[in-house]
């Protein structure tokens, strides 16, 4: 076991998008039981430092694995199609159109009810795209082209998720 092992290796899980959330959480806690600095509080500075490194690493992996979008982005990176959000801002025209429509609807919304309706639509669209992305990543006969597509879906999803949280903040 090594600090530089992938999140999946660290958690002893198959390297795929589909994950059992309950099993993930149970494994996180089992690992923290072994590595948390509290378990080494009386064992000197070296043990504390090591425990801190491991505990941080386990939390980092858990944050990434439990969040479907972060998990998808991580898988894209592991498979050679990194997200590169800063340098890769090209968006499909249809996706941009929908973003504009949603933003206009959000600007026009005056009641909580209107925002909730819009939020439901945005969330449903997010789930749909996530499922597409997950299928692409877990496909048996995958290829670079399919991973690139998953990577592009992740970029779109990042916009949707940001918009979704902006809507939630207004409620």
């Amino acid at each position: 076991m090594n600090l530089t092992d992938s999140d999946f290796v660290l958690f002893g899980l198959p390297e795929q998008f589909a994950q059992d959330v309950a099993a993930l959480e149970a494994k996180w806690k089992a690992l923290q039981r072994e590595a948390h600095p509290d378990k080494f509080a009386a064992q000197g500075a070296t043990a504390q430092r090591l425990a801190m490194q491991w505990s941080v690493r386990i939390n980092e992996a858990y944050q990434r694995l439990k969040d479907p979008l972060k998990r998808a982005a991580y898988l894209c990176e592991l498979r050679g199609s990194p997200i590169n959000a800063e340098n890769n801002t090209a968006m499909p025209a249809a996706f941009l159109m929908q973003q504009i429509e949603w933003r206009e609807a959000a600007d026009d919304a005056t009641s909580d009810g209107q925002i909730e309706t819009l939020l439901a639509e945005v969330s449903a669209s997010k789930q749909n795209l996530l499922a597409q992305c997950g299928r692409a990543l877990d496909e048996e006969n995958s290829s670079k082209a399919i991973y690139d597509k998953a990577s592009s879906l992740v970029r779109n999803l990042m916009f949707i998720e940001k918009f979704e949280s902006e809507l939630e903040d207004r409620l």
Binding site: F11, G12, A26, K27, L31, Q32, D38, T46, N59, Q63
Partner: protein, 601 residues
């Protein structure tokens, strides 16, 4: 199958190795110390049998200080030198103190921090808090007639980095080995959860004298997982007192106002002179305060993605939750009566004591031995970017310890330094957040603009405290970081204060250094012995001999009168066991994974 552990005669664990560990609740109005004795956590009383120590310090003159009840009595006669509710000033600048004008002290700004002019000179809130902590430390030492191995100090969950650091500094100043800072609601959850074998989702509503916290926890098989936390570090029972004083147009002191508030817990009305306040009026005038607590509760629930009905139980903590209308409002919000079957004043100190006992490595044979705390950072951490905007680096409610990295680059050719401003808070503008520190990264190799890639890593440890490191990625050069804490003390200032507190008596310093070196050697030996006890098989024969010899040398060094010599031997033992510690950690992780895999089959 677990192998039986047999230790060699000369390495038998010392039967007196049980270490005295204490939990301290450093409160705004009261402070307490607790410890686990015979497997049970209990608050330690003073000589008169009182467990609560009023958090009040009076500087009588250059030679005399009064702490606790003695100081409370002087609050009216000598207000300028009698410091109460100092917790509200911790980690704060003069400009942050909203009601500075109404406080009876002479406040001043000292290096960004607030300080108080007293008959004993200028005192920082850290020093005042250290007086309270030292008083509790002596109480514990007298109780056990022994040295204290270490302490867990509680802080409001909503304390920011500067406030936490100030608390830790105060503990160091009071001569305490800080095992951990833990959040007050989390400590309460430990005491409540272990006592009641609670499982499920719990909300801890903690309204103290000067702070309000709300924490949402999942309790499951001994794991205390904080899902979200929120609150207001300047909202507490004190504010309810002020509301009462205002109601009487300041004809009563806040001290008297508190008494009136307390009477209203059991009485429907209280008369002062020709004016009467009814409980209904009290509820009405304090409604804005109560509503502020509920707003924080709603926000924490939203962060946790939960609804009030999802919560299995609400635990009430802090003396201010004795107010009947607070219990009613909280009960109404969650749709079930809150849990009040514990002493709201003591529960935080008790939880801290249980945690301290575990951290010290003492076994009680109860569920407490196996508990695990997974707490979160209460406020987001970010850095200032162009235009006074905040770039968020560590989001709030992230499980700690945690580390997040961010890459920066230079904007000028040959630039060798970079200035960073670290802030804490949820707002988008730097001016609306709390300034924590300004960092200067120096020693960046000169390159073309934009070519350097400086990875800055923000690490938040298990105490919730931030540290920052930076490495230029292309050259591997580690940038030097000059920290200028916005409100905290520098290490030099603490060293000076420590020296001052011992006056010019050099032998005191030497005696203290010797005692600390011996304690540290002791800690190291016990740690290594315990590690050898469980994982001796990870070492080959040669390594075992080497470590055994160093353990013996370290044990023997404790009889020396030379602190430096003891430290040298202790450091050798620490260095020699580094690889062993790493191997044990790896074995533990592998065990955790293997255990899970077997369950899955």
């Amino acid at each position: 199958m677990a192998l039986l552990q047999i230790s060699e005669p000369n390495q038998a664990p010392d039967p007196h190795a049980r270490r005295i560990a204490i939990g301290i609740d450093l409160g705004t109005t009261h402070s307490l110390v607790a410890s686990v004795r015979s497997g049970v956590a209990e608050c330690l009383p003073d000589e008169q049998g009182r467990v609560l120590l009023p958090s009040v310090v009076r500087y009588v003159d250059a030679d005399k200080r009064e702490i606790g009840f003695a100081a409370v009595a002087a609050q009216i006669s000598d207000p300028a030198n009698t410091i109460a509710s100092v917790k509200r000033l911790m980690g704060r600048g003069l400009a942050d103190i909203a009601n500075a004008a109404s406080l009876p002290y002479h406040l001043a700004a000292k290096g960004g921090m607030v300080s108080i002019q007293t008959a004993f000179g200028e005192k920082s809130p850290v020093e005042v808090s250290a007086e309270i902590l030292a008083t509790l430390r002596y109480r514990a030492e007298d109780t056990f007639d022994d040295d204290i191995f270490g302490a867990v100090i509680t802080v409001p969950a909503y304390f920011d980095d500067a406030q936490r650091q100030a608390t830790k500094d105060a503990a160091s100043l009071a001569g305490l080995n800080v095992l951990r800072l833990i959040n007050e609601p989390t400590a309460a959850a430990i005491a409540y959860g272990l006592d009641n074998a609670a499982e499920g989702l719990y909300a801890i509503y903690d309204l103290g004298g000067g702070t309000f916290d709300i924490s949402i926890l999942r309790l499951n098989k001994g794991v205390f997982e904080v899902i979200a936390t929120g609150g207001d570090s300047a909202l507490g029972g004190d504010d309810y007192d002020h509301a009462v004083a205002e109601f009487f147009k300041d004809a009563v002191s806040t001290f008297e106002a508190r008494k009136i508030k307390e009477k209203l817990t059991t009485e429907d009305a209280v008369q002062v002179g020709d004016q009467t306040i009814t409980r209904a009026q009290f509820v009405e005038i304090t409604k804005p305060l109560t509503d502020r607590t509920l707003a924080a509760v709603k926000k924490a629930l939203r962060d946790a993605k939960l609804k009030p009905v999802d919560i299995d139980g609400t635990v009430m903590v802090g003396g201010s939750t004795r107010m009947p209308h607070i219990q009613a409002v909280v009960g109404e919000f969650f749709g079930k009566p809150p849990l009040t079957n514990l002493n709201p004043d003591e529960v935080v100190a008790l939880g801290a004591a249980i945690q301290a006992n575990q951290l010290a490595g003492n076994k009680t044979g109860t569920d407490a031995d196996d508990m695990l705390l997974l707490d979160v950072i209460p406020l987001s951490l970010g850095i200032e970017t162009m235009g006074g905007l905040v770039e968020r680096i560590v989001p709030r409610n992230q499980t700690i310890p945690t580390a997040m990295a961010q890459d920066f680059t230079t904007y000028q050719d040959g630039q060798t330094a970079l200035a960073l401003h670290v802030v804490q808070g949820e707002r988008d503008l730097v001016v609306d957040c709390r300034s924590l520190a300004r960092f200067e990264l120096r020693g960046i190799p000169p390159m073309a603009a934009g070519a350097a890639k400086i990875r800055v890593t923000f690490t938040v440890d298990a105490d919730g405290l931030l540290s920052v490191s930076a490495v230029e990625q292309n050259s591997g050069v580690e940038a030097r970081i000059n920290v200028k804490p916005s409100y905290g003390l520098t290490d030099e200032q603490i060293a000076t204060m420590l020296k001052d507190s011992f006056g010019t008596a050099a032998q005191d310093m030497a005696a203290r250094a010797l005692a600390e070196a011996r304690l540290e050697a002791d800690r190291m030996v016990i740690a290594v012995q315990s590690a050898l006890g469980s994982d001796r098989d990870l070492l080959d024969a040669k390594e075992q001999t080497q470590i055994d010899e160093l353990v013996a040398a370290c044990t023997a060094s404790k009889s020396l009168e030379d602190a430096k010599a003891i430290e040298t031997v202790t450091a050798e033992l620490a260095k020699a066991t580094e690889a062993f510690a790493a191997a044990r950690m790896n074995a533990g992780i592998a065990r955790a994974l293997a255990g899970k895999n077997i369950e899955n089959i």
